[in-house]
């Protein structure tokens, strides 16, 4: 530092000359001076990613409802299996929707927004069993957030109730079978009704609000969607699906906190879908399609930060590889070789760094609303 100070004048003069010489060549091609079209980015997200995902979930959830109707009309294992298939399809689609806790979706369900009605796990089985026994339950109450949605269906379709020997017994021989049937019906109805309202609100109302809020304030769409996106990746994906079962936040692994505990062999499939959803969103890839549009990726490219794009995609890919080597059932994986789970967590965590530090930094938006002066 001291020697640097001595040569300071020389350095300053050199700086002057360098800037004078390099000012014209410094303009990179992407820095053409025109502003990035954030409106186009929001339109691509809304029209090609978010709304199609909500609509697909509508389709998949009505298929669940049909399978449920068929099952109740004719209670047998085949129909239960068909219901299970429909459930799994819808659950996979849900992985593309969960990050969009915005608009009408965030108005209900407390802190966790609409996720409260779809995917709070681990399930509190007692609430389901007591609900079926007493027929006294309220799915709108926050006490039942952890007793509905996909996890509740998972238990109802695949889990074995107290004193039963197989899953289907709930609906055949269990003393509360009427209660289980109505609980199943109500859970499916709740999911359909809520998702319909969100999908319709997006199409008829919120889409235009979303697309037009192009500013850089706390309530602007880009700020909110980046916030939701990163929150989902860090909490919904990284922590809930891998970190918590692997014991990254507790003294010991908690295998029974995996997603889809009762079906058991789909936790990996769901996690891979979720990771695809996150990566597709980043790259602006159309839902269920191949074309790409304006996205976080193109915004970063505009800001001359392709280094972040490359790094993030490679970190997503690394994480995918670490997840692909896991057992189909994370429950088994945690119990047999938890190290592989924590390795997957570490790989996912690296992408958190790139998202939360590098991407947010490049966009220069605040992650959470920090209301204070700077200087």
């Amino acid at each position: 530092m001291i020697t640097g100070k001595k040569n300071f004048l020389a350095v300053l003069i050199t700086m002057l000359i360098m800037v004078a010489c390099s000012s014209s060549s410094d303009d990179s091609p992407s820095d053409s001076g025109d502003n990035f079209d954030r409106g186009a980015l929001l339109v691509n997200m809304a029209d090609n990613i978010i709304i199609p995902a909500f609509e697909d979930l509508q389709t998949k959830l009505s298929a669940v409802d049909i399978a449920r109707g068929n099952f109740i009309n004719d209670i047998n294992q085949t129909n239960l299996d068909l219901l299970s298939d429909a459930w799994l399809e819808a659950y996979k689609t849900w992985q593309y929707v969960e990050m969009f806790n915005i608009g009408k979706a965030e108005e209900r369900g407390g802190d966790k927004g609409f996720v409260s009605f779809f995917n709070i796990y681990p399930l509190t089985i007692e609430d389901v069993q007591n609900g079926a026994a007493s027929k006294n339950y309220d799915l709108d109450s926050s006490n039942f957030h952890d007793a509905q949605g996909f996890p509740a269906l998972d238990f109802l379709i695949h889990g074995i109730a107290n004193s039963d020997t197989s899953a289907i017994d709930k609906f055949i021989s269990n003393t509360n079978k009427e209660g289980y049937i109505s609980y199943l019906t109500d859970v499916v109805a709740q999911m359909n009704a809520l998702n319909n309202s969100f999908a319709n609100d997006w199409k008829n109302n919120y889409r235009d609000t979303f697309v037009s809020a192009t500013g850089n304030t706390v309530t602007s769409s880009l700020n909110k969607i980046v916030n939701d996106y990163i929150f989902y990746y860090e909490k919904g994906l990284r922590a809930n699906k891998i970190g918590i079962p692997a014991g990254n936040f507790s003294n010991a692994p908690l295998a029974d906190k995996v997603e889809a505990l009762y079906k058991d062999d789909v936790s990996k499939a769901l996690t891979l879908e979720a990771l695809n959803a996150v990566q597709d969103m980043f790259n602006g890839k159309q839902y269920n399609g191949t074309s790409t549009g304006e996205s976080f990726r193109t915004y970063l490219a505009f800001l001359d930060r392709n280094d972040i794009v490359t790094l993030l995609n490679s970190r997503f890919d690394d994480a995918r590889q670490k997840i692909e080597v896991l057992d189909d059932s994370f429950f088994s994986q945690v119990n047999t070789d938890n190290t592989k789970m924590t390795e997957a967590f570490d790989a996912l965590q690296l992408a958190v760094v790139t998202l939360k530090v590098d991407m947010v930094n490049a966009f220069d938006i605040r992650l959470d609303f920090v209301d204070a002066d700077g200087d």
């Binding site: 800037v19 303009d27 820095d31 502003n35 192009t214 970190g243 014991g247 800001l303 938006i365």
Partner: protein, 453 residues
């Protein structure tokens, strides 16, 4: 030489500029405190957090729970008294102590301009700012038209230090050659009317702003001191601060600086300002029959020594970073209290791992369980925050019954548009590292070079 100093110290100047400064300062501070309360920040910054980050050596200074409101009230009231010049000496002591206490409660909220207020109010303890146009004049039935010249000059010097050192700090390769961090900050203000979509996106504009910002800071003290350029300089001051106020969330600071810069003007302008105030508040009569006396400073010698030492320290403290071996922007050792204002964009994420030394069993901490979002953001990229928080976590989990607690951190930081890189050595148990003024050897080296001051 000695004679020269004595002649200078005996020079007098009109008391009006210091009086106007006192009024401006008091009013601005009072408004700042009200604004702080109005935004609910007393609650969110000082009452809600479970844990507060302390300055090294000031760990005993903590928020006072709900009494913190009383502290702010005292501070705001003192500022009003300062503005009025009512019991000035007690008021300014009370202001200095309460304001400084507030600032020391949690370093999360550290801002250069708060530090500026603290040291400026310290300086004002020793200045006869109530000599002229003050309620004290009316009470004592006397006033002083002339005060020692060094008193107003010391404020001018302090202001000049702020600007000039802020300018020196900008003489680095990131600021001048890469236009960082303005290259990050300006384009993100795309939603500003007129300039947002176009001007703020231009590469040349980022460079122009960086260079003119540095030039402004370096030259403005001289332009303000030199009579012929003073008015132009003041217009620059207004434009510069208003522009930064539009671009950045910097609260009251721009207005404080604009009002402060008035002290550079000659007394006749301040007399006019005072006449306007007299007219507005119908105070013409009150000051007519006062006896005018020459001002005599009590305890002159000790005061001169204190002020002299204080100003010398102000010149030296910003250079203490030279005593540390590594990149200043990266380690931030010697970064604060040095007028490094809006100088870098640094962002980090720090994930803490609690390990049982015997069994190797570990878990990660969710920072949100302990910190507010603002604290987490500040902690993420500043080593002294990371260390203090690591100790807090170590204590917390030890008290919870965890055995052989070790605290490690995985930390990544991005500086001025570079990709994030590992920040802290993740193999170092921070729970056994002590805070000190020594270089922190557990900060990983910065894998780049920033040239300059």
């Amino acid at each position: 030489m000695k004679l020269n100093i004595n002649t200078y110290l005996n020079k007098t100047t009109h008391a009006a500029p210091l009086a106007v400064f006192r009024i401006g300062f008091g009013v601005m501070m009072c408004l700042s405190i009200i604004r702080f309360w109005y935004h609910g920040w007393i609650d969110t910054l000082y009452i809600q957090p479970k844990f507060h980050f302390s300055y090294y050596g000031f760990e005993f200074i903590k928020p006072l729970g709900n009494y913190t409101y009383i502290l702010f009230f005292i501070c705001g009231l003192s500022a009003c008294f300062v503005a009025l010049g009512l019991k000035y000496r007690i008021a300014i002591i009370s202001f200095f102590l309460s304001f400084t206490y507030i600032e020391l409660m949690d370093k999360t909220t550290y801002l250069n301009h708060y530090y500026f207020i603290s040291i400026l109010s310290f300086l004002m303890l020793f200045l006869p700012a109530n000599a002229y146009f003050s309620v004290d004049n009316i009470i004592k039935r006397k006033r002083y038209e002339h005060i020692p010249k060094w008193t107003t000059d010391s404020i001018k010097l302090l202001l000049s230090i702020v600007y000039f050192y802020a300018g020196l700090a900008k003489l680095n390769s990131d600021w001048l050659l890469k236009a960082q961090p303005l290259k990050i900050w300006l384009p993100s203000k795309y939603d500003l009317p007129f300039i947002g979509e176009h001007l703020l996106q231009q590469n040349w504009f980022h460079y122009a702003m960086s260079w003119s910002g540095a030039l402004y800071d370096l030259s403005i003290p001289f332009l303000l001191l030199y009579k012929k350029t003073r008015w132009v300089a003041f217009i620059f001051v207004v434009i510069f601060h208003v522009f930064t106020r539009i671009l950045f969330p910097i609260g009251m600071f721009p207005f404080i600086m604009i009002v402060s810069a008035l002290i550079f003007f000659d007394a006749n302008i301040h007399v006019k300002i005072i006449n306007i105030l007299k007219y507005l508040f119908k105070l013409k009569k009150e000051f007519v029959s006062l006896k005018t006396q020459p001002y005599k400073l009590k305890y002159r010698k000790p005061i001169l020594i204190i002020v002299g030492v204080f100003l010398s320290l102000q010149l030296l403290i910003p250079f203490r970073y030279l005593l540390y071996p590594n990149e200043l922007f990266w380690t931030e050792e010697g970064y604060r209290f040095s007028w490094r204002v809006m100088l870098m964009e640094k962002m980090g994420i720090s994930t803490f791992k609690i390990v049982d030394k015997e069994t190797g069993v570990f878990f990660y901490v969710d920072n949100k369980d302990f910190l507010t979002p603002f604290q987490e953001k500040q902690m993420g990229s500043q080593p002294d925050f990371i260390l203090e928080y690591a100790h807090y976590l170590g204590e917390h989990f030890t008290n919870q019954g965890h055995k052989n607690v070790q605290v490690f951190v995985e930390s990544y930081v991005a500086l001025n548009g570079r990709l994030s890189q590992p920040f802290i050595d993740k193999s170092v148990n921070l729970y056994t590292e002590k805070e000190s003024f020594k270089p922190k050897n557990w900060i990983l080296p910065f894998k780049d070079d920033i040239k300059g001051l």
